[in-house]
C-alpha cells in the first residue's frame, strides 16, 4: 500500500507516522530476543554490552558461558531430562489427540460441543491451578517425583493443541477426494493411507510440535512435581533466574531461540507443502 498520488499532506504524514509506529512495535517484539544472543558471548559476567564488545574487540567476546553450559553435567542432565519428558509426552499426546479429533469430526458424534469443551479445557485452566490439583493428586497415588507423573501431566497440556490443529486440517478436508479415490478403485485402507493421512499429516505434525514446545517450556507443574533426579532445564533456569543469574542461562536461552527458529521454519515448510497439495498457490 503505497501513498496514492491524490493523498493530502496530512494523509501522507499519517502514512509515514503509522509505518514508524509499526516499526517500533515490531522492534519491541523482536529486539529482546535478539539482544540476548550477543550477550551470551560476553567475556565478562555482566548483562550489558561492555566497551570492548561495542568496539567489536575480539577480547570482549568469549565462549566461556557456552563452555560452562556444555561442560556442566548438571545442565546437560537437565537438558536431557527436558527432552526425555517432551518426546515421551508428545508421542502420547499426538496419538490420543489425533484419534480423538478424527472421532470428534465424524458426522454422528454425540455431545460434540460438551466433549470438545472438556478436551480443550486443560488449555484454558491456568497452569497454577492444574499444578495445584495434580500436585496433591499425584502425591496421593505415589506419582510425585517420577517421570511418569510429569509425562502424564504434560500429555494433559499437549492434547488440546493436537485436537485443535487436527480438527482445523479436517475442516479444510475435501470429502470428494475420498469418493474420487474409491471410484478409482482404492479400498478403504488404501484410501486412508494414500489420501486421507497425507492431507492430515500437516495438522498432526503442527499439533505434535505444539505439544513438544509446550512440554519443553513448561515450568509451573514440573517445579512442584519433579524430584532432583527429574529436574528439567526449565526448572534449573527458573531457580537460576530467581537466585543469581549468570550468563550461562543466556547461553542456554540463545540455543533455545535457535531451536524456536528451527521449529518456525519447519512449520512454514509444512504450511507451504500443504497448500501445494491442496492445489492452492503458496502464499
Amino acid at each position: 500500500m503505497a501513498v496514492p498520488t491524490y493523498a493530502t499532506t496530512s494523509e501522507r504524514i499519517w502514512y509515514y507516522a503509522f509505518r514508524v509506529i509499526c516499526g517500533l512495535i515490531f522492534f519491541f517484539l523482536i529486539a529482546p530476543i535478539i539482544v540476548i544472543i550477543p550477550l551470551a558471548f560476553n567475556a565478562q559476567p555482566y548483562f550489558t554490552f561492555t566497551r570492548e564488545m561495542l568496539s567489536l574487540d575480539p577480547d570482549g567476546y568469549s565462549l566461556r558461558w557456552y563452555r560452562d553450559l556444555l561442560g556442566s553435567s548438571e545442565w546437560l542432565n537437565s537438558i536431557a531430562n527436558s527432552f526425555i519428558i517432551a518426546i515421551a509426552s508428545t508421542i502420547v499426546a499426538t496419538a490420543l489427540g489425533t484419534v480423538a479429533a478424527l472421532g470428534l469430526n465424524r458426522r454422528n458424534m454425540p455431545a460434540r460441543a460438551l466433549i470438545t469443551a472438556i478436551l480443550i479445557s486443560p488449555m484454558i485452566v491456568p497452569l497454577i491451578i492444574t499444578a495445584a490439583a495434580l500436585f496433591s493428586f499425584f502425591a496421593r497415588i505415589g506419582l510425585s517425583n517420577t517421570y511418569l507423573g510429569i509425562i502424564l501431566s504434560h500429555v494433559v497440556l499437549g492434547t488440546p493443541f493436537v485436537v485443535l490443529t487436527v480438527t482445523a486440517s479436517l475442516a479444510g478436508f475435501d470429502q470428494t477426494l475420498i469418493r474420487a479415490s474409491q471410484s478409482l478403485g482404492a479400498n478403504q485402507t488404501r484410501t486412508f493411507f494414500r489420501v486421507i493421512l497425507p492431507l492430515l499429516l500437516p495438522g498432526v505434525i503442527s499439533g505434535a510440535l505444539f505439544a513438544f514446545v509446550t512440554s519443553l517450556d513448561e515450568v509451573v507443574i514440573v517445579n512442584f512435581m519433579a524430584g532432583p533426579a527429574q529436574t528439567p532445564m526449565t526448572v534449573r533456569m527458573f531457580s537460576g533466574l530467581r537466585e543469581e543469574i549468570s550468563p550461562t542461562i543466556l547461553a542456554l536461552a540463545s540455543l533455545l531461540v535457535a531451536l524456536s527458529i528451527l521449529l518456525l521454519a519447519t512449520l512454514e515448510m509444512i504450511r507451504r507443502r500443504n497448500e501445494r497439495m491442496r492445489g492452492l498457490s503458496p502464499g
Partner: protein
C-alpha cells in the same frame, strides 16, 4: 398383486427385510458408537488425570474431617447442643470416651493440634485433661470443669461445634480476608493479614491493563501485516511468530537483562547522558517489570486472531467509504473497526485468561508489588495442610473466574474458532 397405491403405503424396507427407518436408526447408532469409541481414550484420560484431580482439589478446599475423625463421639454429641449454656453431661462423656481412644491410638495429639489452630492454647488444656481422664468415672461434667476452667468456656465449645462440621467455608473466608471472630461471627481479618482481596483486584486490573496495552500495540501491526503484499506480510509475521514460539523463560530472562539497574537500557541511558549513574531507573522487580514483560509475552496472542480477521476484510470497503465522502477516521471507525470486533474479542479474552493465571513472569520480574494471585497459591502449596487447603480455595476462586470468562468467550466467539500459527 399390490396396486401402486398400496405399495406406497407399505413401509419401505431394506434389503434384509427390516423397515428402512429402523435400519437407518440402527446404522446411525453404530456410527455414533464408532465416533465415540475414537474419542473415548482421550476423554477417559482427561477425566482421570485432569478433571478428577481438579474436583478433588475443590472438595479439599471445603472438606474438614479432622475433628470428626479424631473426636467422633464428641462431634455427634455436640450436633444437638443448643449453644446456650455449658454442654450437658452427654457431651463430656463423649469427650472422655474420645480422649481415652485418642490416647490409646496416639491420635489425641493431632486432635489437640487441630483444635489449637482455632483456639490458641487449647492444646495444653486438651493434653492435660487427656492424661487424667481414664482415672475418672461418670459423671464427667464436674470433673472436667474442676480440672480446668477452660472447659467451661462457651467459646471453646462453639468453635468445636463449628469445626466438627464436615464442610467448612473457613478457607474461602480466609481467601477473601475474612474469618470467624471470637463470637463465631464472620468478620474481616486484622488489617496486617489482609492480602488476598487486594491481590485478586490487582491481578484483575493488571490483567485488564496488559490486555489493553496489547490491543493498542497489536491493532496497528495486525493491520500493517494484513494490508501488505503476501511476501512482505509473511516476513512481518515471522517477527510475531518467533516470539510466540520462543520459550517463556527465555523472553522473561531477556527482560531481566534489559530492565535491570545494571541492564542494557539503563546503561544505554547513562551512556547517552539522559540519566546519571545514580539516577538509574527502577524498571524491574515491581509492577512495571510485570506489565512490560507480560505485554511482550502475550502480544502474539492478540496479533494472531486480529490478523486472521483483518486478512478477510477487503481493502475496497475503506476506499468505498472514503469515496463516499467519509473522513479517513470516520471510514475506519464505522466501516473497518466493526468488522474486526470478532478478532478483537477473541484476542482480548485469550490474553486476559492467560494473564490472570500467570505465575512465572510475575515471580521473576514482579518483586513484591508486581506479583499475582497465582504466586500466593504457589507459596501456600509449599506450606502446611491448612495452607494447602487455602491454596485450593484460592485456586478454586481463580478457576471460577477463568471459567466465567471462558464461558463468555464461547458464547461470543466459539472455542473452535481458536487458531494458532
Amino acid at each position: 398383486m399390490a396396486t401402486r397405491e398400496q405399495r406406497s403405503k407399505a413401509p419401505l424396507v431394506a434389503a434384509d427385510g427390516t423397515p428402512l427407518k429402523e435400519a437407518l436408526r440402527r446404522s446411525q447408532a453404530v456410527e455414533r458408537r464408532r465416533a465415540f469409541a475414537l474419542v473415548a481414550p482421550l476423554l477417559v484420560f482427561i477425566l482421570l488425570v485432569f478433571a478428577i484431580p481438579i474436583v478433588a482439589m475443590i472438595w479439599r478446599s471445603v472438606y474438614n474431617p479432622e475433628i470428626r475423625e479424631y473426636l467422633p463421639q464428641t462431634a455427634a454429641a455436640l450436633s444437638s447442643w443448643d449453644g446456650e449454656d455449658v454442654p450437658p453431661e452427654a457431651v463430656f462423656q463423649a469427650m472422655a470416651a474420645d480422649m481415652i481412644v485418642g490416647v490409646e491410638n496416639r491420635t489425641i495429639g493431632r486432635a489437640a493440634a487441630r483444635i489449637n489452630r482455632e483456639i490458641p492454647g487449647a492444646r495444653s488444656t486438651m493434653m492435660r485433661t487427656a492424661r487424667n481422664v481414664d482415672a475418672w468415672s461418670a459423671p464427667y461434667r464436674e470433673k472436667f470443669l474442676e480440672a480446668d476452667e477452660d472447659w467451661a468456656s462457651l467459646e471453646f465449645w462453639h468453635i468445636l461445634q463449628r469445626e466438627s462440621r464436615l464442610i467448612t467455608p473457613t478457607y474461602y473466608l480466609l481467601a477473601v480476608d475474612y474469618e470467624y471472630n471470637a463470637q463465631g461471627e464472620i468478620a474481616p481479618r486484622p488489617e496486617v493479614y489482609q492480602v488476598y482481596q487486594s491481590l485478586f483486584f490487582r491481578t484483575a486490573w493488571m490483567s485488564i491493563l496488559i490486555t489493553g496495552i496489547c490491543v493498542l500495540l497489536a491493532y496497528p501491526i495486525s493491520y500493517m501485516v494484513a494490508t501488505q503484499p503476501v511476501r512482505i506480510a509473511n516476513l512481518l509475521l515471522i517477527l510475531v511468530l518467533l516470539p510466540f514460539w520462543t520459550s517463556l523463560l527465555v523472553r522473561t530472562s531477556a527482560w531481566i537483562v534489559l530492565l535491570q539497574q545494571q541492564g542494557v537500557i539503563n546503561e544505554l541511558l547513562v551512556w547517552a547522558g539522559v540519566i546519571d549513574t545514580d539516577g538509574r531507573l527502577r524498571m524491574i522487580y515491581n509492577r512495571i517489570g510485570t506489565v512490560v514483560a507480560m505485554t511482550h509475552i502475550l502480544l502474539p496472542f492478540m496479533v494472531l486472531p486480529l490478523y486472521s480477521v483483518m486478512k478477510t476484510i477487503p481493502p475496497s470497503y475503506l476506499r468505498a467509504a472514503k469515496s463516499l465522502g467519509a473522513h479517513p477516521f470516520r471510514a475506519w471507525w464505522s466501516v473497518y473497526f466493526p468488522l474486526t470486533v470478532p478478532g478483537l474479542a477473541a484476542g482480548c479474552i485469550l490474553v486476559f485468561i492467560l494473564a490472570i493465571g500467570y505465575y512465572i513472569t510475575p515471580a521473576l520480574v514482579g518483586g513484591d508489588s508486581g506479583i499475582f494471585i497465582s504466586n500466593l497459591i504457589a507459596d501456600n502449596m509449599q506450606g502446611s495442610s491448612a495452607q494447602l487447603k487455602l491454596a485450593a480455595a484460592l485456586a478454586t476462586i481463580l478457576l471460577v473466574a477463568v471459567l466465567l470468562v471462558y464461558w463468555l468467550f464461547n458464547r461470543l466467539v466459539g472455542v473452535d474458532k481458536l487458531k494458532f500459527g
